[in-house]
Amino acid sequence: MLRLYGKIFRTGMLTERVPTVPREEAVEREGARLKAVIDKRFRGSLAIRQVDAGSCNGCELEIHALNNVYYNVERFGVHFVASPRHADILLVTGPVSRHMEAALKRTYEATPDPKWVIAVGDCGVCGGEFGVSYASCGAVSEVIPVDLAIPGCPPTPLDLLRGLLSLFVNPK
């Protein structure tokens, strides 16, 4: 047990400040605004439900990374929940396979209002490498309304963080 405590102690705090777009000040301001929005409208806690609607699982790896010690997305009051009923935001990766179409719609319906949908990754944004076919509906917006698109194949955790920060700059 001592070894474990030693390891934890020596590893220390690794969580990074958000290094973002060229003008750092603007980002800090946006970050502060997001935090303010989350504090005020969501009582300091924004709940995300991630839905894989057909991804190759690359996007999921990077979404997972948001929770590692370097990005530590929870410090902004953002956390991932197990049920759409607890969620404010659906983070959807695509393309939406036709076999997931009904499940995605039901997940959307199960999410209480007000809700936001973020399409993640090139496939979720425009169909990506898979496009539209007998098996794929393509972009998430073909199936449910989308509020924000975060492109990338896959988007890096930083891209995801920036996307989240930008969602409430012009809240609907």
Binding site: D52, N68, A82, S133, Y134, A135
Partner: protein, 535 residues
């Protein structure tokens, strides 16, 4: 227990099989030279197909996969067998109208889902298949529509809205206090979709039935007509966590079809990329296994180590997951001396971190409590299922393509393959820990020996109908790939076989008798790819 050499065998298994064919009066034609070299190809009559399966099973061949092809006037059907590092492919022709042949499923469990996939997508009937249920087909196309036939357009004829797949006939259990738990397709974590149907009594799992196919994206269909570069983009996204593995398999199959020999430097760089992918995935899953039993410190430590390597990938190769770094004929990323030095350093430092974590993990009684004797897959069952990768190797299955059917650069390296026989979650955890260390050693060796030379050979457009077959060892296990070219160097058939389709049934077996709350850790210890399975 560590095997460094494949078992000594004096008789060529392919020759044994041909002798058996003659004794059984089965008419067979060895195609020489084999267009699928190094795999051998035997052409047979369709009515003998079932007997061939029976014969192969009696000779302990591992059934590794099957694929079909629509050749216009007829269908062709292939099954791939493997024994002692040799691959043997059986091929037969089927008439275009009402194609049917005997099944291999009565002799090989592994054949079950792959044959159902072929039936759903090609409309080839397997006459004595024990399970009539559909598999990959849900409700996106009709019962008599077959997407992989050439006359089916890639766009299909989709309904405005695809109905849910809610009438799949799951096996039911009956009796006092038996109940059913449906899970998914949308799961409670950041994870791919699939459906699990549990029959349970109290906390104990009586039976688990998987229902996959939710992320079927039509990969085999939309590969048709692509050029080699386009195919690689797609192959790199068969399963995002195995982007190097699948791209390598597709490259190798295409290069064999085109007769392109890649430069040795390119082979080494592919090897280094593939081992880095193995390291990153193993590190990640070791952490995730800790997380699934509530050991958060382990999860965060391994997550930290993974992130460091992802960042290094980004700095050295421009992509955190190493997507699109392979090109037909070679690689698109070089390793200059500074990069090699940096990788050597990170290898040393990761090993030091692992040395430090090992006693912490080993002495942790809560890990031991949850890992030991949980989710046991016996060696017999693993062999019957043909289990691959760390799932197989935790249950006594020693096969590793890098050592047993070596390809460049592994034919020049000493590949250590750790094997255990306990078959529980703990075994799979420790096999992966050992594989991780073996991968670090391979990376160091490849960096030390990295030959100079070109990064890619010039691509040559292969003749129409040229075909190629490849087997590479991805981090989950053996990946197979078959490619056939059409006119003008365009792909006419692409068949990737992720190890997941072989290993998914193992989860159904090993979870039986365990408690429902141990399902997540059992699932994680197998870690099948949904995308790689569903295609």
């Amino acid at each position: 227990m560590e095997n460094t050499q494949p078992p000594a065998e004096t008789v060529d298994p392919n020759q044994m099989f041909r002798v058996a064919l003659v004794s059984a009066d089965i008419e067979a034609l060895s195609v020489l030279p084999s267009p699928l070299a190094p795999a051998d190809l035997i052409e047979v009559k369709k009515n003998d197909w079932g007997r061939l399966g029976q014969l192969a099973s009696a000779q302990n061949w591992r059934w590794a996969g099957a694929w079909a092809e629509d050749l216009g006037t007829e269908f062709s059907m292939c099954a791939c067998l493997q024994k002692q590092g040799r691959y043997l492919i059986l091929r037969t022709d089927l008439p275009a109208d009402n194609p049917a042949l005997p099944s291999h499923a009565p002799y090989y469990w592994t054949a079950d889902r792959m044959e159902r996939h072929i039936r759903d997508l090609f409309g080839i009937r397997f006459t004595d298949h024990p399970d009539p249920k559909r598999w990959t087909r849900h409700k996106a196309w009709g019962e008599t529509a077959y997407p992989l036939r050439k006359d089916f357009p890639a766009q299909g004829h989709p309904a405005p809205e695809t109905p849910p797949d809610n009438d799949y006939p799951f096996l039911k259990a009956q009796g006092a206090s038996v109940y059913e738990i449906p899970v998914g397709p949308v799961h409670a974590g950041i994870i791919e979709p699939g459906h699990f149907r549990f029959q349970a009594v109290g906390e104990t799992v009586l039976h688990l039935e998987e229902r996959l196919g939710y992320v079927h994206k039509g990969i085999e269909k939309i590969a048709e007509g692509r050029d080699p570069v386009g195919l690689l983009k797609l192959a790199g996204r068969v399963s995002g966590d195995t982007t190097v593995g699948h791209a390598w398999a597709a490259c190798m199959a295409m290069e064999r079809a085109a007769g392109v020999e890649i430069p040795l430097r390119a082979a080494y760089i592919r090897g280094i990329l593939a081992e880095r992918e193995r390291v990153i995935n193993h590190v990640w899953d070791l952490g995730a296994l800790c997380n699934d039993v509530g050991f958060a410190a382990g999860y965060y430590q391994f997550g930290r180590l993974r992130e460091l390597w992802l960042r290094e990938n980004r700095a050295l190769f421009g992509h955190r997951l190493l997507m699109d770094k392979l090109v037909p004929g070679g690689v698109a990323a070089d390793i200059p001396p500074e990069a090699a030095g940096r990788m050597r350093d990170s290898t040393v430092s990761l090993r030091r971190e692992l040395d430090e974590l090992l006693p912490i993990l080993d002495a942790n009684s809560s890990l031991e409590d949850r890992f030991l004797t949980t989710g046991v897959l016996s060696c017999e069952l693993a062999s019957a299922l043909g289990a691959l990768g760390f799932v197989g190797r935790a249950s006594g299955q020693t096969f590793d393509a890098r050592r047993d059917a070596p390809y460049s650069p592994y034919d020049r390296l000493k590949v250590r393959v750790p094997v255990e026989t306990q078959g529980d979650v703990a075994s799979r955890f420790w096999v992966r820990y050992k594989e991780l260390r073996a991968a670090l050693r391979l990376i160091e060796q490849m960096l030390a020996e990295l030959p100079s030379g070109k990064l890619a050979a010039e691509w040559q457009t292969p003749a129409e109908d040229a075909e190629g077959f490849a087997a590479v060892e991805g981090w989950r296990g053996e990946i197979l790939c078959y490619v056939r070219f059409g006119a003008e160097g365009r792909i006419s058939r692409y068949w990737p076989r992720d190890p997941s389709i072989i290993n998914w049934p193992a989860l159904e077996k090993l979870v039986m008798g365990n408690i429902v709350p141990d399902f997540p850790v059992c699932n994680k210890s197998v870690n099948g790819s949904y995308s790689g399975h569903d295609l």
